[in-house]
């Protein structure tokens, strides 16, 4: 920077009154076919970026992001599963040497060593050579780590039946139905059905939602007596009159 006496400033500021030229550097003397980043290379990069963006948008269009049912802490049947890039850590904890009394190995020592080594790689692999064959230990360690991460992720993900999982955990639209607790069929619903089908007919892991049911009144009555699919028979244990009221309650709540 220009210093010393004779410097001119803009007004009373510290901005130099001397203008610098706004001309790109000339790279023609640089080795090889060096290019200027601005604007030559950026134009090509821009094109590659656009292609990437189109591919990315096609992915989001083809596979809408998943959303499961609202969190239900009482759902004991739910099998938790982390996002795919944490699966290898999750799977590691299933090995005997990394679980139970040795859990410290699984949660701290093994991942700590791996990620610590990654962080300090330049100091562990401090020879001058950059080519992979000049630093076989570092390269082999990385390949081993990479293989085990891929293997752990694969074994963890291979057991999961993703489609059934998504099917079982479909989001249920927020119910806008009002439960008419004064309805004469409500008492029967409460004592016979609510445990499995939920307080607002919204369904639970044990029973399907009754909101949006496609069965007719007669069919509902039969199912209540004889069961269907995973639902055993004789779930409803009242008189025929109570059954009629119950069916009317379910149908009328559905009509809202």
């Amino acid at each position: 920077m220009h210093k010393g006496k004779g410097m001119k400033f803009v007004g009373d500021s510290r901005v130099s009154a001397e203008r610098k030229s706004n001309i790109p550097k000339d790279y023609s003397e640089y080795p090889g076919r060096t290019e200027a980043f601005w604007p030559n290379f950026l134009l090509k990069e821009w094109l590659a970026g656009s292609v990437f963006l189109v591919g990315f948008l096609l992915l989001t269009l083809a596979h809408p992001s998943p959303l499961e049912g609202v969190a239900d802490p009482t759902d004991a049947a739910y099998i938790p599963l982390p996002d795919w890039y944490f699966l290898f850590l999750y799977e590691l904890l299933k090995y005997e040497f990394a679980a139970g009394p040795y859990v410290i190995f699984g949660i701290l020592i093994i991942p700590g060593l791996a990620f610590g080594a990654l962080l300090l790689a330049p100091f562990l692999d401090n020879g001058p050579g950059r080519r992979p064959h000049q630093r076989p230990i570092a390269v082999i360690m990385m390949l081993l780590a990479l293989t085990s991460v891929i293997w752990l992720t694969y074994t963890s993900a291979a057991h999961v039946d993703w489609e059934t999982r998504a099917e079982q955990n479909k989001p249920i639209p927020p119910s806008s139905v009002e439960i008419d607790t004064s309805h004469e069929g409500y008492a029967s619903y409460e004592s016979n059905c609510m445990t499995c089908h939920g307080g607002e007919l919204e369904g639970t892991p044990a029973g399907v939602p009754l909101i949006g049911t496609e069965y007719s009144a007669e069919e509902i009555a039969t199912i209540a007596r004889e069961g269907i699919g995973g639902m055993p028979a004789d779930q409803f244990t009242g008189s025929d009159e109570e059954l009629e009221q119950l069916v009317d309650f379910i149908i009328s709540t559905n009509e809202q």
Binding site: K20, N22, P24, E35, F56
Partner: protein, 224 residues
């Protein structure tokens, strides 16, 4: 006209040197895919940055609808997903971007590793990069809870149980993250929201700034 506006500003704040610092840098032949196709491996870092920009923009739009509260979090996401115009696309970009950014980060890390590009004098930039990787994993972990669906809730539960098993500080760590020693609930959601939207992005921006300043100062590593 534009030139006059530029000159007017330049006379007062002298922006030309700043602009030349940003614009003027060379792209050596060995990193330019136009000359050597295999140089596409040098794109992964740039693509990571590109996806991060997508994440920031889509995330900003998501917060326009998202409510970090256990009553409404899931409902607001469901509403965004089903009712809001293009909501599904914006959420889809954020959801898939979270995965794509990890893939790109991994590829970028592997490129730098196998080329030995972290060797002297670039040790510091490698460490900043690994820290960026950790921050990104943290963003993934905290972002997972926010939709407050079963998947989110139970995965977070497991994550917090793992944190609890850390010797000595485990229980404090869990309380710090979850807001309570036992309950994964309203406090947890607001904490994860704050971490996901303010704390970690702050760290991310600071580290990215260092990462980029260092690479501009040192230049890209030479050909093998």
């Amino acid at each position: 006209m534009l030139q006059k506006i530029y000159d007017w500003i330049d006379e007062r704040v002298d922006i030309t040197p700043i602009w030349r610092d940003i614009a003027d840098h060379e792209v050596p032949e060995h990193v330019n895919p136009a000359h050597h196709f295999s140089a596409f491996v040098y794109c992964f870092g740039g693509l990571t940055f590109f996806v991060v920009v997508i994440q920031i923009l889509s995330g900003m739009f998501l917060t326009m609808y998202y409510v970090p509260d256990i009553e409404n979090a899931w409902k607001s996401v469901y509403y965004l997903q089903t009712e809001v115009a293009h909501g599904q696309i914006v959420r889809g970009m954020h959801h898939w971007g979270a995965s794509v950014v990890i893939v790109m980060l991994l590829l970028h890390t592997l490129r730098v590793f196998f080329q030995g590009a972290y060797k002297k004098p670039r040790e510091l930039n490698w460490m900043v990069g690994v820290l960026l990787f950790f921050v990104m994993l943290g963003l993934g972990f905290t972002g997972y809870l926010l939709p407050w669906d079963n998947k989110a809730y139970f995965a977070t539960q497991v994550g917090l149980e793992i944190a609890e098993q850390v010797p000595f500080i485990g229980e404090y760590l869990k309380t710090l993250l979850a807001g309570d020693a036992e309950i994964v609930g309203a406090q947890t959601l607001t904490r994860f929201f704050a971490i996901h939207v303010f704390f970690l992005p702050g760290a991310l921006f600071a580290l990215m700034a260092v990462h980029f300043i260092l690479i501009r100062r040192q230049g890209i590593s030479g050909p093998l």
